[in-house]
Amino acid sequence: MDALIPPLLNGSAQGALLLLAALGLSLTFGQMGVINMAHGEFLMIGAFTAYLVQQVIGASDLSIPVALPVAFAVAGLLGLLLEVSIIQWMYRRPLDTLLVTVGVSLILQQAALQIFPSQGVPVEKPGWLDGQLTILGYDWPLRQVFTIVLATVCVAALAAWLKYTSFGRRIRATVQNRDLAEVAGISTRTVDRLTFFIGSGLAGVAGVAASLVGGTNSQMGAQYIIPAFLVVAAGGIGQLRGTIVAALAVGVGLSCFAYWTTGSLAQVLAFILVIVFLQLRPQGLFTVRTRSLV
């Protein structure tokens, strides 16, 4: 039990954070096909926003609840800016979006390094997140529980939005065939912008959660980007439930490996396992097939 429960508890929180980081990607990458390598920097922007909110209203109990929507809006607007200025010209060559956004991510990192103190900024945990929950005799930090709750809320909201509004359909239609979507009466531009806004905004929310876990600095986004992509890919492109399962699996896996071996090796093992999994199931956990040939 001692070797199982703690990594399970830790791991689900780690998975929840990964899920938050991957959620936006499951929209912009999974649904729209844009490989946004600057997603990690949107997350970073969310974290810096949390810091700025704390600077303005103080590190009170309210600061994090306030920071969440603000970070969503700030990161979302930046995402929108990126879409309007660059991504919109690239929908017909999705692989190239990867390279363009690598450029964006380099620029955002450097800008953050120059705007904020180079050693990073402190984001403080509100008092109500101090303490632990006792589960089966094991302490579960409230901060971890909070991350899980936040991820659950975001997932539920996103799922509901995709399911109960026609928007989900429109996103998928737009990605599959822009011309056809356009002649089916869908304003593909609106769809693109809104999707990118929400996807980037979710990265901002993830950034607030991440700011409570590690350092808030120019490099923080780089830690999340590849695992987040792996999670989306392993879950099956465009499959929300796949992303959820994959994120939790990777989080718990990372934590278990780190518990049983070392932190560094855990990273390697988790990566290798996802890669092997993707090799076995190249379309991810949940697959959609069509007959179309090319």
């Binding site: 026609s166 359909r169 239609a173 599959q176 979507a181 356009e182 002649v183 089916a184 009466g185």
Partner: protein, 227 residues
Amino acid sequence: MLELTDIEAGYGRTRVLHGVTVPAGKVVAVLGHNGAGKTTLLRVAIGLIKPTKGRVFFDGEDIASLAPNRRVARGMAYVPQGQQAFGQLTTLENLQLVADGRRRGKALIEAQLARFPALEQFAARKAGLLSGGQRQQLAIARALITEPKLLILDEPTEGIQPTIVAEIERTIVQLAAEGINVLLVEQHIGFALEAAERYVVLASGFVTRTDEGGSAAVSTVRAAMAI
């Protein structure tokens, strides 16, 4: 209703259409060999290609600057060539996509499912898994759901079984009778001429003949196509 005048258009530096004019008419047929530019012309009409020259009038208004989805909102509908559907969406979702936000959306879908039994049968199947003809039926149903004022059809019966071809041909005639305009590209010259009030023959991107439909002789048309 729809009128294209002196259209020049193409892809990149390749010019495909050279001063093409399509008159207004209830049912207008565009005829021509492979590669004559028929599809290109229809893409100009719906707005997927911006013409380099010429004007596009719809309801007496110049719509050249409107995006396709705005044109659809004004009552144009387009069935592209090649059995196109949103493969990852189910048949029903393909229809809901265009019915969303319309009054009586459900009823409109029902009506089309009744018209095409195969679609009803496979409503829950991903459209990408449908057979070619089923997909084509889906494409037509999708266009009809929008209750268009003008229907643009690019070889709508291609790949469809004869009984349903007959159904579609009947539908076209019926729609025309109901006052819906149709711009039709069709290889079945016989039917096209029968249904069309006017027709245009394209050859290598030039209009080689424009005339009244109905009584026109197939041989005249064929001659014009071969110029």
